[in-house]
Structure formats: C-alpha cells, structure tokens
C-alpha cells in the first residue's frame, strides 16, 4: 500500500467507510499479531490482543492525524501500550511468565540437540534481551519496520535505535549461541 493511497484509506475509515476499515485490518492484522505473539509468547493471547488493538484503533481513529506519526508506527504504539496494560492488569511481568514457560533444564538440553532456528526458539532468545533491545529487534527484523518508524513507535531518536539495534543483535546472538545456534 503506497503512503498516498494509505492516507486516503485512513481518511475514508475515519468517515466510517467499512471497506476502508476492512482494508486496514487486512493490511496490518498479521504484523500486529506477530508482534503480540513475540511479546506474549502465546498464540491465544496474541489473537485476543490483536482484536483489542484494532478495536482501540477504530475508536481512536478520528483523533489520528497522518502528519504527526506514520500510521504503522501509531498502530504499533497502541499495540505496545496494550501489552503493557495486559501485563499490568494481569499483575504479572514478562520475565515471570518467561520463567514459567521455559522448559526445565534437562528438558531444554534434550531439545537443544540439532537446533534449527524457529519462531519458538527465537521467542525464547528474544526474551533474554533487555526490553528496549527486544522491542527494537522485534520491530526492525521481525516486523520489518524502517529505522525512522521504529524510532517514532518507541519515542526514541534514530541514533538511539541504531545503538539498541546493534546491542540487541549481539545479545540475541549470544542467547542463540547458548542454545547451540551459532552464526560465527
């Protein structure tokens, strides 16, 4: 979707055009779901939160102004804060959940034989990163967001994103190495 045509669709969606709302959903629901999966580590939770993100987007759409923030960055800001709300309301923190969902040590050793990188392993490795690093790696390489949009989504400068990007990738490399997946 080109930026110009996207802006048109957004304007139509603001007016209540259901076809335009449907187009926005079709365009973005998979990347939003993907982001939420990697933030929560759970398919069902990611599905529920995806619904909630789009409902929030729909209600907030009349206030959205294209000149302030790229639409994708705005969407992911909503998704990001929704995740924060989710953890807060459920009175649980991501690192606690991580501890619960990680396999036991012996179990892990067995599964590490002949490891191939897949979404589940990647998710486990991502969870060892510092939160800011994880956000940047997730948005940049799993969602494919350009540097400037990641900066706007996370309210940081582009230089800050570049720094977090390199440190995040180094941390991810080290985490994967511990899982016997190396790229040296």
């Amino acid at each position: 979707m080109q930026v110009g045509s996207e802006n048109l669709i957004i304007e139509r969606a603001k007016e209540g055009d259901m076809q335009a709302v449907g187009s926005i959903y079709e365009r973005y629901h998979t990347p939003i779901y993907r982001y939420l999966y990697f933030r929560t580590g759970d398919h069902a939770t990611a599905e529920d939160l995806t619904s909630e993100v789009f409902l929030r987007v729909l209600r907030a759409l009349p206030e959205y102004q294209t000149r302030h923030t790229p639409f994708q960055a705005w969407l992911f800001q909503i998704a990001r804060f929704l995740t924060i709300d989710y953890y807060r309301k459920n009175n649980r923190y991501q690192h606690e959940e991580l501890t619960d969902t990680l396999p036991a040590e012996t179990e892990r050793t067995e599964t590490l034989v002949n490891q191939q990188l897949n979404a589940e392993i990647l998710n486990q490795a991502l969870d060892t990163l510092l939160p800011d690093q994880r956000e940047v790696v997730l948005l940049r390489f799993l969602i494919g967001m350009p540097i400037h949009e990641a900066a706007q989504t996370l309210h940081k400068s582009e230089d800050a994103i570049k720094g977090l990007q390199r440190r995040g990738l180094m941390a991810l490399r080290d985490a994967l190495k511990e899982m016997e997946i190396t790229y040296d």
Partner: protein
C-alpha cells in the same frame, strides 16, 4: 552512537536493497568484521517461518471489527440526526420558510467569512484548551476585552490575557504552541506562515508566565521570538518557559534545545536545564542550572536561608510568597551560579513529600555514588536512570533527602537535545572568493509607536565565480547612537551556512525601544550598525556594513485622544479580578495560593493544564509526588492516572517505580544506573478527578 552502529545500519540497508549476504559481508572493513555474525543471524531470522493468526479467527475478528465500525458510524449519524430533530421542534411551519432564508443567508455570510478567514489563516494563532476566563483585545490598555473560546483566532497585533485560575494554549500555524498560565498577558506581535514555509512568531510578554513548545524550523529565515520588558528570547525549535514579574524582571528557563537570550546588547545562550534572568537596563545574568528544592527552612539570615541543609542565596529579585519562617516547609525555584552558589528566584510555602530536582553536569560516576555539580548523589537500584549517561553529560536529577543523603529517584539525560553549530572552526576553501555586501547599506525608519521595530536588510554575495561560496556567515551589530533608547536589539537570522554567488538573504534588525522613546523630541535617532563578523572563505573579512537609523517622529502627527481610558500608563497588573463572589458551581479552592506557582510550573513542565495538576493536589498529593508521577509517566509511558491509582491503592513510591520498571518496554528492569528508558515524551493526559477538598 558508535561508528559500528552506523556501519551495521549501512550493511542492513544493503541487505534490504537485495544485495547478497556474502557480498555484504565481503565488503566489511577490518574493524567491522565483528558485524559478520550479526548480519548472518539477521538473514537467518528473516528466513524463519513467522507465526500467523489462524485464518478462521482472523475472519471472526474482522467481522467483529466491521460490526463495531458500523455501530460507531450509526451513533455518529444518530447524534447529528438528534440535533436536526431538536431544531425542527422549534420550527413551526409558518416560520419555516423565513427560517430557511435566514439560514441560507447566514451560511452564505459564514462561507464568505470562512473564505476570507482561510486566506489569512497563516496570519493568526488559534486558541485551545481554554480554562477559566481568557480574553482578547485589539489594543491594550483597553476595556474592550472579549472572552475567547477554543478554536477562536487571534490576529497579529492582538492582546491576550488570562485571569486568575485560568489558562489557555495559543497554537501557531506550524504546530508550535504557547501555554499561558493564570494572570498572564501577552501581545501577539506577529504570527505568520508564508507559502514558502517561512514561519515568524513574535510575542511580547507583559507579565505572567508562558511555556513554549517550538517546532524545529526548517527554513533558516523562520523565527520565534519572545520579548519581555527586560529581554528577549530567540529560538529555532525547543521548549522553554518565560516568567515576567511586576518589576519587569524576566526569567528564561530552557527545558530542551537551546535559546538565545538578549538584553541590553548582550547575548547569552541557554542550553537544556539552564536558566537566566534579565532586569530592565542590564545584561542577562550568567546562565545557571535550574533547581527546584522542597524542604524545611532551618535558618534565615538576610541574604541566605538554610533549607534542608542547603545554603540558598536570597536576591533582591527573589519572589517570596507569604512569610515563611524557620520550621516551615517551602518550595524553592532557582539556579546554580557559576561559582556553585544556589540562589532562589521563587520561594513559596508548601506541604507534601519533600521531593526536589536540579540540573547539572555529571562530575563522576562510581557505582551507586554519583557526583553531579559537586553534590554527592546516591543512585540506588530503584532510581530510574536514562541510558548512556557519562561523566560530563548534562542531567536533571529528581531526588529526595534522607538522613542528609541525597537519594536519586530519577536521572534524566539532557544530552539528546540539539546543540548549536557543532563545527565552529571549518577550514577555509582557498578556491572560493566570495564578496558580501548589504543592499541597501542604509535604512531609515520613522517611528513613534509601536516600540518594537523590525527593519529588513538584505545581504548579497556579489561574486560571480561558481565556486565563490560564502560559508558560515555570521552577522554582528553595534548601537552607535541613541543607545539609551534601545532596550534590546536582535538580528534574525544572523547566521547562514552558505550564501551562493548571486544569492541574497534577508534578515531583520529588531529593536525594542524604551518607553522614553515616545516622549523624546522628534528627530531623536537610534543608529544600529550591522557588520559581517565572520565568514569562512574570506578570512580577511568583508568590508560591507549596514546602518539602520530609527528616527523619532512622535509629535509630527496628532496623537488620538484617549476617550475610554484616561490613564494609558496604568500597569496591566492592576487589572481587577473579574469577580470576587465565589460561584456556587466553582470548584473548591484548596491550594492556599491561587494560582499556586508550583502548580503552574508543573503544568508547564509536563504540558498539561494547571487544573489537571491542581486536581491531583486537591486530592492530597504533594507537588513532589505529582512531579514524580508525571516524570514516571514520561519515562515509562504508563498513564499518570494509573500511577496515582497505584499510590492510592496503598503502594509506596519505591514499589511503584519497581513495578513500572518491570513492565515490558521499560528498559530499566534491573535498576542498573546505566540502563533506562530515555523516552521524554509528554505523559498521557489522563484527567484527574475534579479538585475536591482533601
């Protein structure tokens, strides 16, 4: 950011552009080889089959979304229909036709008005977030004050004032904003945005407090200027506050970016966290770092008070509310002078938790023991600390004093702010031979009033060679006659990075004349000489100069006789309050001072309304707590309302910080002082409940 960060991004760009991984890695320099494994991993990550939502669930979600969309659309339509319905209830058939005629005519007039208005929309400011009594007049002093509402336009030349407990935002065409605090009056001298994108905003602040958020200006001819009776601030994109006391003493405080403050032909540059004061007829004070301190008065001498163990200097200009005594708790707003002395600009009695803040430079970092501006700070695990702070960086420290120890609650970096010219000494280009001159080289302006005069000069590079670029051109000025009538002079702009051969650049010579000018003899002159202070490619200098002469023509034309206001010298601060009788529907006042200066300051700092801050205060939160909550909201992105709720639920501030730190997306989960979230956006504008008596 390191070179490797940039190198990695460059290589990632190549991958995104379709270059083969092996080719990209082969192109790594020796010092970049460590990036090879990262690039291989990125390529592998992108190949990982991504999780996708179940198709059936996606369709269900889409259907729900569209249903919700339809409900919202119908509600909107229903609201409009209801309005129409109510109108029709009042229309009896006999009058229906005439009503429609009147309606049509009204719409036609309104349409014409809108068309006219639209053609001038770049020449006015728009009011927003009106709270309380906010008024506009075409000229001041005037009795012709009219109430303003949200969306009202304020044309250039108008005066706007806020009454007690009132505030408003004035928004400009480029998105810049000025917040007017209670009891403030400004004149909007100029607010224009031309088709070529050049923005010019000039505000004359007569009294009160304003807070400015200026959008970075793309066009070098753009300017945003705030003038006060004792000085003026020139900015290109920043956030800063200006307070003007009844004496004309002005305080300029910069929150982000940098601001040039000029007074009596002297300039100072304020960086983020710094403040200065100007007094009529004198140069600006040397910039000092801001501090806000809340503590107990332990001793009082004539020029020095001891507050929570800190010696605070009291100046003639210090604004002291009430009569604080030893043992009282006070809030102090002030600055740290060059020699390290702390002096107060404002002292006001307060209640609540003693949480304070100051800005300064990091002297040393030794684990949990930091020294900032010579003060030892304990930075424990609970402290929220921005990422990447190093010795020498400018920071804002929010702290509390425990057993005489300054314990950091948060440390925010001020280093991300744009700095002035990063390369002050470029190398001259020997092949360039620019020739700069002023055309014309003399300008004469006859003026009685207004007392703020702008003369436009033009600087031309008359060289003809293609390479004869003039680079880093800096202008300077000197008042060579009638200096006693000029309280301030400014050049805007006064610097260009390049003026190509044959190109010309306009600039303004802005002069603020003293009030004595209006009573000086006709023919009195103020002369200002503008010269080229430096230019990179002609080290010998450029001989061109411009002389601007302001000639007094008061008395040459009869001055209009005032009819409604016999005393034009009346000071605006004598404006009476609109009503002394409490409105039964008025919200209860629980502040002690009205408006409360600390509440105003916090409202400005966080870009929210005064009423919002006082709402929390009236619920029993101290100003220190409010400052802390909004600061946490800024850093973590959690709405401030939820942070206050956590406190109301019985959590201590330490635990609240821990919990917020632990939330995903907040990079300070371990409390490591060198990690953190540098998000400096405004907090969510969660509304507190209406103020009630605590």
């Amino acid at each position: 950011m390191t070179d490797l960060d940039n190198a990695l991004q460059s290589k990632l760009n190549q991958l995104e552009n379709g270059d083969a991984l092996d080719d990209v890695i082969a192109g790594l320099g020796e010092e970049e080889l460590e990036l090879a494994s990262l690039l291989r991993m990125v390529a592998a990550v992108k190949e990982v089959p991504q999780p996708v939502p179940a198709a059936q669930n996606s369709q269900v979600r889409k259907t729900r979304l569209l249903q919700e969309s339809e409900v919202l659309r119908m509600n909107k339509k229903s609201t409009a229909t209801n309005v129409q319905g109510k109108l029709s209830d009042y229309l009896i058939p006999a009058f229906a036709f005439s009503f429609l005629i009147i309606l049509f005519m009204s719409l036609a007039v309104a349409g014409a008005g809108l068309w006219l208005y639209g053609s001038q929309s770049g020449r006015a400011a728009t009011m927003a977030n009106i709270s309380g009594q906010v008024e506009m007049a075409a000229s001041a002093p005037s009795n012709d004050w009219k109430a303003l509402g949200a969306g009202d336009k304020v044309p250039s030349g108008s005066y706007v004032r806020t009454q007690g407990s009132s505030s408003a935002i004035m928004a400009f065409a480029d998105g810049s904003q000025m917040v007017l605090s209670p009891n403030t009056q400004v004149k909007l001298v100029e607010a224009t945005q031309e088709r070529n994108g050049i923005v010019k905003v000039v505000i004359a602040q007569q009294y009160g407090t304003t807070s400015h958020k200026v959008i970075p200006m793309r066009e070098k001819q753009s300017s945003y200027v705030v003038r006060t009776p004792s000085g003026q601030a020139f900015v290109k994109g920043t956030t800063f506050d200006v307070s003007v006391a009844q004496t004309g003493v002005s305080r300029f405080a910069v929150n982000a970016g940098s601001v040039l403050v000029s007074a009596s032909n002297q300039d100072v540059i304020l960086k983020a966290g710094q403040t200065t004061s100007t007094t009529p007829g004198t140069a600006p004070d040397i910039p000092g770092y801001q501090f806000s301190l809340q503590g107990t008065v332990e001793a009082q001498e004539e020029n020095t008070w001891l507050i929570s163990g800190i010696s605070i200097g009291i100046l003639d200009t210090t604004n002291i509310f009430g009569n604080p005594q030893v043992g009282d708790q006070v809030y102090v707003d002030g600055r740290v002078l060059d020699g390290g002395a702390w002096v107060a600009d404002l002292i006001v009695p307060v209640d609540g938790d003693p949480i304070s803040s100051f800005t300064g430079t990091v002297d040393s970092i030794d684990g949990e023991n930091w020294v900032v501006n010579g003060h030892a700070i304990y930075v424990g695990e609970d402290a929220l600390v921005d990422e990447g702070i190093e010795v020498g960086h400018r920071v804002r420290v929010l702290f509390t004093i425990s057993d005489g120890i300054w314990v950091a609650l948060s440390i925010t970096s001020l280093e991300d702010d744009p700095e002035p010219d990063p390369d002050p000494s470029p190398t001259p280009d020997p092949s360039a031979n620019p020739s700069l001159s002023f055309e014309p080289d003399e300008i004469e302006v006859y003026v009685c009033e207004p007392l703020l005069v702008a003369a436009t000069g033009t600087l031309v590079n008359t060289a003809e060679g293609e390479d004869d670029l003039a680079e880093d051109v800096q202008l300077a000025y000197e008042v060579i006659a009638g200096a006693s009538y000029a309280s301030a002079v400014g050049l805007n702009p006064d610097f260009w990075t390049v003026i190509a051969p044959g190109e010309s650049e306009n600039f303004e010579v802005i002069t603020q004349l003293t009030e004595e000018w209006a009573s000086a003899p006709a023919g009195t002159e103020v002369k200002i000489r503008v010269t080229i202070a430096s230019e990179n490619n002609r080290p010998g200098g450029h001989p061109g100069r411009l002389t601007v002469t302001l000639v007094n023509n008061c008395g040459e034309e009869p001055t209009p006789t005032p009819t409604t206001d016999p005393d034009p010298t009346v000071t605006p601060t004598e404006t009476p309050e609109p009503t002394a009788t409490p409105d039964p529907g008025e919200e209860p006042i629980c502040t002690g001072a009205n408006p409360h200066p600390v509440g105003m300051k916090l409202a400005q700092r966080y870009g929210v309304t005064y009423e919002e801050i006082m709402g929390w205060f009236c619920m029993g939160f101290g100003f220190g707590e409010i400052d802390l909550a909004y600061g946490l909201s800024v850093q973590t992105g959690v709405p401030v309302e939820e942070i206050f709720q956590m406190k109301m639920d019985g959590m201590g501030w330490g635990n609240i910080k821990k919990e917020l730190n632990s939330l995903p997306g907040n990079g300070n989960s371990s409390g490591n002082p060198n990690r953190g979230n540098s998000n400096k956006d405004k907090p969510d504008k969660a509304k507190p409940p209406k103020p009630n008596k605590p």
